[in-house]
Amino acid sequence: MQTPILEVKNLEVSFATYAGTIQAIRGVDFQLFEGETLAIVGESGSGKSVTTKTLLGLNAANATVKKGSQILLGNTNLADYKEKDWDQIRGKKIAMVFQDPMTSLDPTMTIGKQIAEPMEKHLGKKAKEAREAALALMKDVGIPDAEEHIDDYPHQWSGGMRQRAVIAIALAAEPDILIADEPTTALDVTIQAQILNILKAQQKKRKMAVIFITHDLGVVADVADRVAVMYAGKIVEKGTVNEIFYNPKHPYTWGLLSSMPTTSTALGSLHAIPGTPPDLLYPPKGDAFANRNAYALKIDHEKQPPFFQVSPTHEAATWLLDKRAPKVVPPEEIQKRQAYWQEHFVKEG
């Protein structure tokens, strides 16, 4: 068994607010392996960004990481880190790319300088050497005529070019882990395709592990090796990308996959998950998805489901997987996917 480069165990994060304590992350576990891409998908507000910001100590001041949470990077537990310790991690071991490139670019500094800075700081490169390396990196991420543009300021660039600059900055100190939080959501599909290709190529070249957050399941299908599905502060299902797309087990995952139209979906027949997610000021005692779940059993409303193992790489937290649960027929879209799974991934006998 491969050892993970990062392991998150029982992560709990809450926010103190005027109205009370928001239990944003309610016991999250996952592992990340060298060179892989783990995609995190899920409802808005389910905790994707908070989970990954916690890995970099970037949460808002009103956040508390609960005692007993573990974020193991090698032998160190980042959950115990104080502000002064993070410098050793941010940018150097773990780097981050956000949705809006303008939030991570300094408008007053040239792009070349912003890429060179982490190289000087973390790799001990001299100014001239760092500038050369920054130029090479700009070419790597597909910035045309890099020599001409190395001294440009961010406002002179389009959204797609800025996002390339942000990626270059994130790669500058050669991190082992790259977290990309909706890096292409603000871009049109053409530019998105270019950015995804750049990310994939750089990941391969550097054997970097990537945590990729997106709500676009097409993008997940493209980039992910493994997928974690989040709902209301918990991971509800995780597995390889094929397991999640062709053999999903959690009704929330079913809902997500059925709410995207395919070219053959007839008008009016698009599945929509009814209702809204629960208020995390008062997390429900059972499965948080139960009140929106047409397949909910009585026990879903009363008791938190544990993870049931589907395969060595696939698990889902739903009572439907309990031996005693009645057999249910998933939505049509899911049946089609499962048929594909049976045909292509399940060996005879």
Binding site: T190, G218, F245, L267
Partner: protein, 311 residues
């Protein structure tokens, strides 16, 4: 919508729009764009960022003055309308925006946001009737009485967008321009809003101009689709023609860039690159009808080549 009997609700002819005309930063955002929108249909508009989709929508609502060409609504040129006709047009044509937060007045309750629209259109004779109509609107978009006294910030993104839709529909429009109405929403909420738009269209015989990045959603919702590139309409046809039998190399490239939620297909799939330089070669291009209702912007030679490529 190939029905020749269908009535043209919006007719756009040779529309050209220039920002900052005569200045150094002059920018032609729309160039010689022509197409019609038939009553009761959904016309989808797609194209890369900056291609002119929002500009087109805003020009059709008379928020920008065109440099050339004309826009007819229900048979009258919107830029020649007199006062009364114009007021009528303003209520018949409405817009739903990408960011519901920014388009709703945060200091008003939902009830007053909707009431304002009703007052504007002169639909409210007294308080009681106003209240009744507000409730009707809320029910129509799947909200209820409890929501009426709340403020926009107390709602989720999907709920805010429902309020935005209710506000647009308060004045009983015939034509609604939806500019990326679901881009800012969650996948599951997108489906709720799209279903709502489809339901309302059926119930009220609405005509939509639907602008979106998400090509799968556009295909799903639209009867016909127009593809915009650099301010020019490069392809026009039924949703099936454009999506399943694209002609223009830009359309092909755009479609190939859409990731599909199917890992085996998606991981094997390559994006077709597009070199737009030929668009600026100075040759004259026209919309050539390649089959009934399916047009592509091309020279005669290019049209022949596109046809050959398809077979």
């Amino acid at each position: 919508m190939e029905n020749p009997e269908a009535k043209k609700l919006v007719s756009i002819k040779n529309l050209t729009l220039t920002f900052n005309a005569g200045k150094k930063n002059e920018k032609t955002a729309l160039e010689d764009v022509s197409f019609d929108i038939y009553e009761g249909e959904t016309f989808g508009l797609v194209g890369e960022s900056g291609s002119g989709k929002t500009t087109l929508g805003r020009t059709v609502l008379k928020l920008y003055s065109p440099a050339g060409g004309s826009i007819e609504f229900d048979g009258s040129d919107i830029n020649k309308m007199k006062k009364k006709e114009l007021a009528d047009f303003r209520s018949k044509a409405q817009m739903i925006f990408q960011d519901p937060q920014a388009s709703l007045n945060g200091r008003l309750t939902v009830s007053n946001i909707l009431g304002e629209g009703l007052d504007e259109a002169g639909f409210t004779k007294n308080k009681e009737e106003r209240r009744k109509k507000v409730l009707e609107l809320l029910h129509m978009v799947g909200l209820n009485e409890d929501h009426a006294s709340r403020y926009p910030h107390e709602f989720s993104g999907g709920q805010k967008q429902r309020i935005g839709i209710a506000r647009a529909l308060a004045v009983q429009p015939k034509f609604v321009i939806a500019d990326e109405p679901i881009s800012a929403l969650d996948v599951s909420v997108q489906a709720q809003v799209v279903n709502l738009l489809a339901k309302l269209q059926k119930e009220q015989k609405l005509t939509y101009l639907f602008i979106a990045h998400d090509l799968a959603m556009v295909k799903y919702l639209s009867d016909r689709i127009g593809v915009l590139h650099w301010g020019k309409l490069v392809e026009l046809g039924t949703a099936d023609q454009v999506y399943n039998h694209p002609l223009h190399p830009y359309t092909k490239s755009l479609l190939s860039a859409v990731p599909v939620p199917d890992p085996v297909k998606e991981k094997a799939h390559h994006v077709k690159s597009y070199d737009p330089s030929f668009e600026k070669d100075g040759q004259e291009r026209h919309m050539v009808e390649m089959e009934a209702g399916h047009f592509v912007l091309a020279t005669q030679e290019e049209a022949a080549k596109y046809k050959a490529d398809q077979n």
